[in-house]
Amino acid sequence: MIRRLEKLINKIPSIMHNTFKIKSIQSVMALSFTFITILAMFFVGITLYNIFLGTAETNVSSSTEQIMNQVNFNLENYLKGMMEISGLITDEFKNDIYSGQENLKNIFELTSKIRKDVVTLTVFSKKGELILKSPSKGYDNDFKVNQQEWFKILKEEPDKYLFLPPHVQRMYEKKRPWVVSLCRVLTINNYNVGKETYVTEVDMNFSAIDELCKSVSLGKRGYIYIIDTNGKLIYHPQQQIIYANLKSENTYLALNKADGSYFESFQGERRLVTIKTIGYTNWKMVGICYIDELVATNNKIKYLFMFVFIFGIIFVILASVFISAKISQPIKKLQKQMEKVEKGDFNINIEVKGEDEVKNLSKTFNIMVVRIRNLMDQIIKEQEAKRKSDIKALQAQINPHFLYNTLDSIVWMNENHKYDGVTTMVVSLAKLFRISISRGNELISIQDELEHARSYLTIQKIRYRNKFNFTIHAEPEVLKYKTLKLILQPIIENAIYHGVEHIQEKGSIEVNVGIYNDKVQFRIIDNGYGIKPNTLKGILDKESKDDSGVGLNNVHQRIQLYFGKEYGLKVESELDVGTTVEIWIPLFISEDGEQKNGGVV
């Protein structure tokens, strides 16, 4: 259950993104908060309202029932009173009929005078002869009671009584009042005459019932009405209007339900209907209460709820927007700064502020930017260095001194008719320069590099009048690999000028190339003078003292710049024994790093 709820809540941001295209943190937060809060408020509000309503309705039900019970009690007493009046004749007629009649007549007259609700009191014999009447004047002698339906039915049932529903009474001339009648058959045991059956009729108007039913209040518009089990209306506050068929009452419910409280909808309004059966009769008392008068259903309360709800929503919206703005502000700032970096401005530093996560982001971001800046500076420096050594190497390609001296040698040899030497020199020189330039490529095959070395050594051997011998030896498989150009010549140059040039015996320079440990190794071994230990120590570090030369450290630098720190030169030397220089480069076959400088071969 909770998992599902979690899933649901997690879905909200993605819904925001996809359905509503709301993507900023602030909007998603504000909307999500608002939405969830409104939903919660809504549910809580409705639940509370319904509980409130339910309680109110229950209260109204029970209080209405109490009221009805009270009215019922009063009504039953009233009817009981009527029964007692009509029962008076039992006592009176028990003894002497004639004096009894006289007494009863007086009692009836008094009752009629005192009680405004009693219209007439009459006593008939079983045959329908009028025995007693009150009021005494105005009786219509044409009136035949034994033609009345109720009389025909009732007289056969001893000791039974009947309440007639409202009708117009015709016993008296010039008077046609609406009455409700209590008709009773009484069997009296008279001492003299024996058993005699009499029928009494008590006619009541509605004043007393009206008073009883109007005396209670069932809300401003509520009322009580009375109905009999045949569906005939006994009493209703708007009786005439209903009789005129101008209005109707929902008697169906009252007739078919047992005593109790029910809710109904009638003519668009919700009402509480309370039913109570009245004793002595077959009547039912129905109380109607209009629900919309209850406090809870009162429109005013509804409007108040709505108002509070809307006010709450406004507050929630404002609060959400405000809070989400505050939270997302540092993030927005961070975003803006990052945009600057994106555009290339690395000289920024972000304020470390906001929530923890944002603070960390800012800190890390600052560090990152500094690092990038440093890396960029480093690259620039490296590129500078590379450029410089490239330039130097370039210079070496076209070393003027070497050229002059070689050309001098050629001229000298030519003047001395050493034509073979001339040819060799010229050819070698041509090869040398051709490979030096190598169409501007940085990388050349090891074969070419060896050719270059060979050409150089050939020229120098002749120039130094065979002061030394040289050998160039390479394993066949290594030839196809590539190398940085002009790495051998400077070493060999050193081997000649600082090595074998100054020794007495014949010098020897060996150039060997092979593959060791998956790397290419060049070895230049000379048996020259050697390098002093002090010089040897820092030989790869210093700048070349010799301006016209390139120098060991230069080559070393170039190789390291180009291939990385694990490659480069290794120099070993022993004074008076010789020097061995190792050049390590990687196995390189690919075309990487070929600089298309547009050089021409």
Binding site: H167, R176, W178, Q240, M306
Partner: protein
């Protein structure tokens, strides 16, 4: 730019919600007060206390006034013949500007100008019982008098043989009820009886006058076999004349309306039949319709409250009891 749009939406929502709440407060607080009481003036044909017909109309009006919470004032001319007085009452009424006027017209034509003035003053107007020659009133609530007259004529035809002489005692010449009922009676009478109408006489809705007319007619026309009374006063007056002359059932009397005395006369066979209207309904519906019109609801232009034929045998049926004997609690 996006931010501006968003802010606008948020502000817009808030303004909308504030608007809603203001509206709600308005409704909540001021709803009660808008239910002002309506003022309605009722001008009936005559303030003649003896006509039960108008008493019952007023009873219906009172019941409706209570139910619809309206303040009602009832007035009228002295007799049904005082047309000028009725016009004067109405002209004065326009000045006091009631919300609605309910009128039972004394005359079909004479009341038209003042009716036009009433409608010009934007007062709602409901006509009851007697119509007039105008389409301006908001509604006309009355008995279908032609139909009612027809019932009376038909009954008389059943009571008499052909070639019997009959007379009609009507009320006010020129009132629409008189005109229409006479029309109806002639429709309902058999051809021969129609030819034997000795005349139409006008009691001006005064019982004593009707009595005189009836007495005179009977004494002057010994072969007069039937009288038709067109309203309560005319019928009661004629009944009393017949009773006093001891000519019960010898001169058949068919009448209109149902006062208590008329019921008694029917029971005693002085009146053979009467056509009963529904004055309570007329009065009740007039107020109800007026209130509906004031609320702006649509109402029928014409409402027929109907009529019933009452004879001795059917007085005390459940339905007729309710019709003939208005139920008053006190």
């Amino acid at each position: 730019m996006k931010n501006v749009v968003r802010m606008t939406i948020v502000v817009g929502c808030i303004v909308f919600l504030i608007g809603c709440s203001v509206y709600i407060i308005n409704r909540a607080i001021f709803d009660k007060e808008t239910n002002k009481q309506t003022n309605i003036l009722v001008v009936i044909k005559a303030i003649d206390l003896r006509m039960e017909f108008w008493d019952t109309v007023i009873a219906g009006i009172d019941a409706a006034a209570k139910e619809f919470d309206a303040k009602v004032e009832v007035t009228g001319s002295r007799t049904e013949k005082d047309i000028a007085e009725q016009i004067q009452i109405l002209t004065n009424a326009i000045k006091s500007k009631p919300d609605a006027i309910i009128l039972a017209a004394d005359d079909y034509y004479a009341l038209v100008p003042v009716v036009e003035s009433i409608k010009k003053a934007n007062i709602k107007l409901i006509i009851i019982d007697s119509g007039l020659n105008s389409d301006l009133p908001d509604s006309f609530i009355a008995t279908d008098n032609v139909e009612a007259g027809k019932k009376a004529g038909e009954r008389m035809s059943q009571l008499l043989q052909n070639d019997s002489k009959i007379a009609i005692i009507s009320h006010v010449k020129g009132s629409s009820t008189a005109i229409e009922r006479e029309q109806g009676v002639r429709k309902g009478l058999s051809k021969s009886l129609n030819d034997n109408i000795i005349g139409v006489y006008y009691s001006n809705a005064v019982q004593e006058k009707a009595y005189e007319i009836a007495k005179q007619l009977i004494s002057e026309n010994s072969d007069l076999k039937g009288i038709i009374g067109m309203n309560e006063a005319s019928t009661v007056g004629a009944a009393m004349a017949i009773d006093d002359l001891g000519l019960r059932e010898k001169v058949k009397l068919v009448g209109f309306d149902s006062s208590l005395s008329e019921v008694n006369f029917i029971e005693k066979d002085t009146i053979q039949a009467t056509i009963v209207q529904k004055p309570f309904n007329m009065g009740y519906l007039s107020i109800k319709t007026a209130v509906q019109v004031l609320k702006g609801k649509k109402v029928s232009k014409k409402i027929d409250t109907g009529s019933e034929l009452i004879i001795k045998e059917n007085i005390y049926t459940e339905e007729n009891q309710k019709l003939l004997f208005p139920f008053m609690h006190n």
